[in-house]
């Protein structure tokens, strides 16, 4: 499965990067009295584990072929779209925001516009009734 190989390597690289970042940032954390390791101990251990495991996985996967499925653009679009949610929430409030994401998600998943609109409307109504009216969630 070339796509799985690709994502394995991508995660291994993420683990490597996060491990190194954890090791770097741990250096600025304070020590305990008497020079004993304090809050930095476990992040440092995790940093070492992630760097070693990331490298190990990359080593195991060397030579294997990996590629994308072709459709990852839509995935990226949804992730970037989710990052806009805090701003959107401030503009159009909670229930319409949830409805909008349901609508956009349905459209991207291949639902016809009328069906997507219905999905978005149903979710917005559900959110308004259950979360805002019944549970009192603000927004």
């Amino acid at each position: 499965m070339p796509a799985e190989r690709f994502w394995e390597r991508a995660v291994a690289l993420v683990a490597l990067a996060l491990g190194m970042l954890a090791l770097y940032l741990s250096r600025s954390l304070p020590q305990m009295e008497g020079g004993y390791p304090g809050p930095a101990l476990f992040p440092s251990i995790l940093g070492v584990v992630l760097v070693a495991s990331g490298l190990g996985l990359l080593w195991q996967e060397r030579g294997s072929k990996g590629g994308l499925e072709g459709g990852e653009g839509r995935v990226l679009l949804v992730i970037l779209g989710l990052a806009l949610a805090p701003w959107l929430l401030g503009q159009i409030k909670l229930a319409p925001t949830a409805g909008l994401y349901a609508l956009a998600g349905a459209l991207l998943l291949g639902v016809r516009p009328a069906g997507a609109l219905l999905t978005g409307g149903a979710v917005a109504l559900l959110v308004y009734l259950v979360f805002q009216r019944f549970l009192g969630v603000q927004g």
Binding site: A12, L18, P30, F42, A83, Y101, A102, L109, G110, T119
Partner: protein, 493 residues
């Protein structure tokens, strides 16, 4: 409020129906069901929330069989072990009989598992009352190691766990209270919200997966679920068969409870082991399905034994539940039994009600509902899930910053899922990681960093030995796997 209050009973009933629907529809999972439900449950208080959660978890595994009966697709991985056989029974006899064959053995397996849950958790708690931070450290380490070693590739397990635990280090450290990795962001001082992470890992990543690969749409069963056949096939015939197979029921229940009890095993493995044992003995499809479904439901209760008594999750579902316990301000383990004794009794009672009443009586009703819901395209359901993920992540803290975390963690969850990394271990890292650090640091501060103190108490020594023994045993077993994997494909076949 108690578990017998109308609110809690209603939560139990609705939770069971909700769990049954999510468990039955292929593509919707029990973990997704809980991830979407938790933001609502958090507002309802511990008793109501726990009642609903027990309803969801106890029925979701059983309901996986409904998908097998109706559309020949297992609703949960735990039903995959005997889907072919159960569907064959539905075709040859009737869907009502196949549903009865699933519901009653599931209920019996769950009840026998519950018996062991009561006895086992009380026994383990009595032992755990003698534990100090040293013993807890070894115990938590045992849970972590068994989780990592249970996955086919240890490196993937280590990365998944490491990422989960690293995420849990964000915020104040558990021993001294220093802020870590907050980048000056006040919203991160309290740490990443476990529930937001859960929604991202199991909700958003599921939608993204469907976006990339499309959805295999199960079509509603052509076989009719006639109400007229319910009494004869679902109740009489299925129960007659269960009585004939009573020793198998008992055997599969014991096996399922034991496998569920083992850390890192869970319902899937229980079902495979039990149904394969029956296949090896040339069992008929009815018998294979009965053994499998009994074992996977018994395993649910089995997994709760170490979770309740020691705070050690046996599988992903119980890891999520432990996180939920903590979010509700309840610490599993002896503290749960000491401080919330009535809650423990109520948990047992809720399990009993679900197993003895809701599972057998609601099984057929759930199938009717699911057969109707299967007409809704999966694409529409996934669109709705995306909208609910957004509102769920926001509702937990009313904090828009959590929506940014949802995007980042959703992307990470998607990458992990596509790469075949076990998401359950990320959850395990987030739940057990902070406990490991806390028990280690407390032990070290108590003894002025004398590492030998971890081996000075007899119980700690036994648990340390168990850790070593488990690592040696599992690695020994895996060497056989490695040798087999390294064989050329022709020789393997």
């Amino acid at each position: 409020m108690s578990f017998l209050s109308p609110e809690a009973l209603l939560a139990l009933l609705l939770g069971s129906l909700y769990g049954a629907i999510f468990g039955a529809i292929p593509g919707l999972t029990a973990t997704l069901a809980i991830s979407l439900a938790i933001p609502v449950l958090l507002f309802l208080g511990p008793q109501v929330a726990l009642a609903a959660l027990i309803g969801i978890t106890a029925t979701a595994i059983f309901a996986g069989d409904i998908g097998s009966v109706l559309v020949r697709m297992p609703g949960t991985p735990a039903s995959a072990a005997y889907t072919e056989e159960l569907h064959e029974v539905a075709q040859k006899r009737s869907p009502a009989f196949a549903l009865g064959l699933s519901a009653f053995p599931s209920a019996i397996g769950s009840l026998i598992g519950l018996g062991f849950l009561v006895v086992g958790s009380l026994g383990l708690v009595a032992l755990a009352r003698q534990f100090s931070s040293f013993e807890y450290f070894w115990l938590v380490l045992l849970g972590i190691l068994s989780g990592i070693l249970a996955v086919p590739r240890v490196l993937k397990g280590a990365i998944a766990f490491g990422l989960g635990m690293l995420l849990a280090t964000i915020g104040y450290d558990p021993a001294l209270g220093n802020p870590r990795f907050t980048f000056g962001q006040p919203s991160l001082l309290g740490g990443l919200d476990f529930i937001v992470a859960l929604i991202a890992f199991f909700g958003v990543s599921e939608v993204l997966h469907h976006l990339l690969y499309g959805s295999r749409q199960p079509s509603p069963s052509a076989a009719s679920l006639k109400l007229a056949s319910v009494f004869r096939d679902y109740f009489l015939e299925a129960n007659r068969f269960c009585w004939k197979e009573r020793y198998s029921l008992l055997r599969s229940s014991l096996l399922g409870t034991f496998v569920g009890f083992l850390p890192g095993a869970g319902s899937d493995i229980a079902a495979w082991v039990s149904s394969n044992l029956r296949r090896m003995r040339q069992g008929r499809p009815e018998q294979v399905a009965l053994d499998g479904t009994t074992a996977n439901n018994a395993a649910v209760a089995g997994a709760w034994i170490p979770a309740m008594a020691l705070g050690l999750p046996g599988d992903t579902l119980t890891a999520i539940l432990l996180g939920m316990f903590l979010a509700l301000g309840i610490t599993p383990g002896p503290e749960l039994f000491n401080k919330h004794g009535s809650l423990v009794v109520q948990i047992y009672l809720a399990f009993f009600l679900v197993s003895a009443i809701l599972m057998p009586l609601g099984g057929y009703l759930s199938a009717l509902v699911v057969n109707t819901l299967l007409k809704i395209p999966m694409r529409v359901l996934m669109g709705a899930v995306l909208g609910l993920c957004v509102v769920g992540a926001y509702a937990v803290n009313n904090n828009p910053f959590d929506l940014l975390l949802l995007a980042v963690l959703g992307g990470l969850g998607f990458m992990l899922r596509q790469g075949g990394f076990p998401l359950g271990l990320v959850v395990l890292g987030m739940v057990l990681g902070p406990l490991l650090e806390q028990h280690f640091m407390v032990s070290m501060i108590k003894t002025h960093w004398n590492l030998l103190s971890f081996f000075e108490r007899p119980l700690a020594l036994v648990l340390a030995f168990l850790n070593v023994a488990m690592v040696v045993a599992v690695l020994g077993l895996r060497r056989g796997w490695w040798a087999w994997l390294r064989l050329p494909a022709e020789e393997r076949a």
